[in-house]
Amino acid sequence: MTTAKRLGLATVALISLGGSAAYYATMMAMQGYSVPRSGLSYLVLGLIAALTALVLLAFWRSVQRSVRTVSSQLENMTRTRQIGLVMADGADEIAQITRPLNEFLTATRTQIEQLRGENRELQIQSRIAAAEKHHTEAIIFSISDAVLVTNRFDELILANEAAEKLLGFRLASSLRKNIDRIISDGTLVRLVRETRSHGRNFTRRVVEHSIDQKGTPKTFSVTLSCVVTDNEEVSGVVAVLHDITREKEIAKMKTDFVSNVSHELKTPLASIKAYVEMLIDGEAEDKKTQREFYDIIASETDRLHRLIENILNISRIESGVVKVVREPISLTGVVKQVLDVARPQAKQKNLQLVDRLAPVYYQVEADHDMIYQAVMNLVSNAIKYTPENGSVTVSVTVDERRGVVVCDVSDTGAGIPADDLPHIFDKFYRVRANNKLAKGTGLGLTLVKHIVETVHDGKMSVTSESGKGSTFSFEMPLLV
């Protein structure tokens, strides 16, 4: 029975009691009994009032207790942030409210747990996405090619360090700015715009484009790709600039080398072929002319052979396949061997061959045959380009303080014009002004420099004054 019902019954009982008392008093008065009216009725009324007050008090207490219990439970839930069930004792009316409240609380709890689960899921996914973003950025930043990413409004949204350096901007201050305000290279801006506007029909293209970098033109292979969303809309463009300057240079060097080699090989070959044909056709009538032709053919064949040997030696050194036998040798010893061979050649031109050589016991670690070849090339060049009655001086000096042995080959010859000097070691480079003085392959000095620097980690240098002479020097570490 609920408190209200109990209260109702108590009220009915009190009213009946009060009513009965009033009725009884009325009847007694009607039958002539003298009823001490005021005393009796006051007694009854007081009794009723007291009873009513008692019942009401009991009821109030019960409700208060229930409300306190429920509210303290609710406060507890709020404090602990844990939704549980509410238990009410005392007044049944409050207990009645707790049922739907509990249903509501249970539903809320379920929903909160569900949301928490979803939230956790989202957090994980967002963490994964962030990690993936970092990953992608790390990849982009570590690429040595310049990478630019723009959105559908041609605004910069990502670029790596290589792009910053190449195009001269700072990513931090350029984000979300239109690329035409960041990149001064009009062609690149146009390419990005074109790629974006052509969109799906044109998702990837590769363009060769030249960009000046600190005054030097560099060639790039620019790959432009559209970023296409699931709805097949173009959301941006990725541009990757790969520096192909070196590749182009190498390709050109190869072509030039082949072209130069074939030209150089064809020259002696042309002489050989022509003289042979002249002999066959009987154009050389007397024995003396025939003899002259045979000599020319022989010397041109030697020239061809030397040329091929030089080309092979240079390319062996350049490709690193050359076999080097390093052993302690005396540079003075090598120079003496060279001078012995070169002396007759110098005598023919009446050249003075002077040597100033350090003691033999100073040694370097080197390949004897290669150093011999290098010194021979320098000495025979000096003899070739020095007019009669001049002099060629070869010296070997030891600089113990620097720990090097220096070999100088000086002549009083034609010298090298200042314009030619920086190219003197280039393959096939010949000083035009001195072309008439001697024949050459344009490979001799290239080979010397390779032998000294590439093979032996030495240093090659030249000083020259046109018309007065040249000094070619190389130094190598002294063996201690």
Binding site: L269, S271, E277, E300, K436
Partner: protein, 130 residues
């Protein structure tokens, strides 16, 4: 004398062999070792035909021919070019320099003589008939 030919080449052997072949065939030959000398000789010797190497110091054969074409009476002199770099010469440049024939090195002296006869042939027959 069948005609005067200017031969220009920086390679002494080539100069020697071509000159000999042509002299043996009855031509008068003057020689130059670079483009500049060729240009000078053209003015003084007035040759009937020019044979020149392409790559020469100071001035290339091509440049020399272009300049020779500017000189009075030199516009139509037939020219043969010898070259070890067959593919480097543009057709337009060949026309500008008035090159009638290009012979690639290594060449045959016989072939050079044939070309010369072909280019000077009609004139020679004319002069011989007189």
């Amino acid at each position: 004398m069948k005609g005067k030919i200017l031969v220009a080449d920086d390679e002494a052997h080539i100069l020697h062999v071509v000159s000999m072949k042509l002299r043996n065939a009855g031509y008068e030959v003057v020689t130059a070792v670079d483009g500049e000398e060729a240009l000078e000789l053209c003015g003084s010797e007035r040759p009937d035909l020019i044979i020149t190497d392409y790559q020469m110091p100071i001035m290339t054969g091509l440049e020399a021919l272009k300049q020779i074409r500017q000189c009075e009476g030199m516009r139509d002199i037939p020219a043969i070019m010898l070259t070890a770099r067959g593919f480097d010469i543009e057709a337009s440049e060949m026309i500008a320099a008035g090159i009638a024939s290009v012979l690639a090195k290594p060449f045959s002296p016989r072939e050079v003589l044939e070309k010369v006869t072909e280019l000077l042939g009609s004139d020679d027959e004319g002069t011989q008939a007189q």
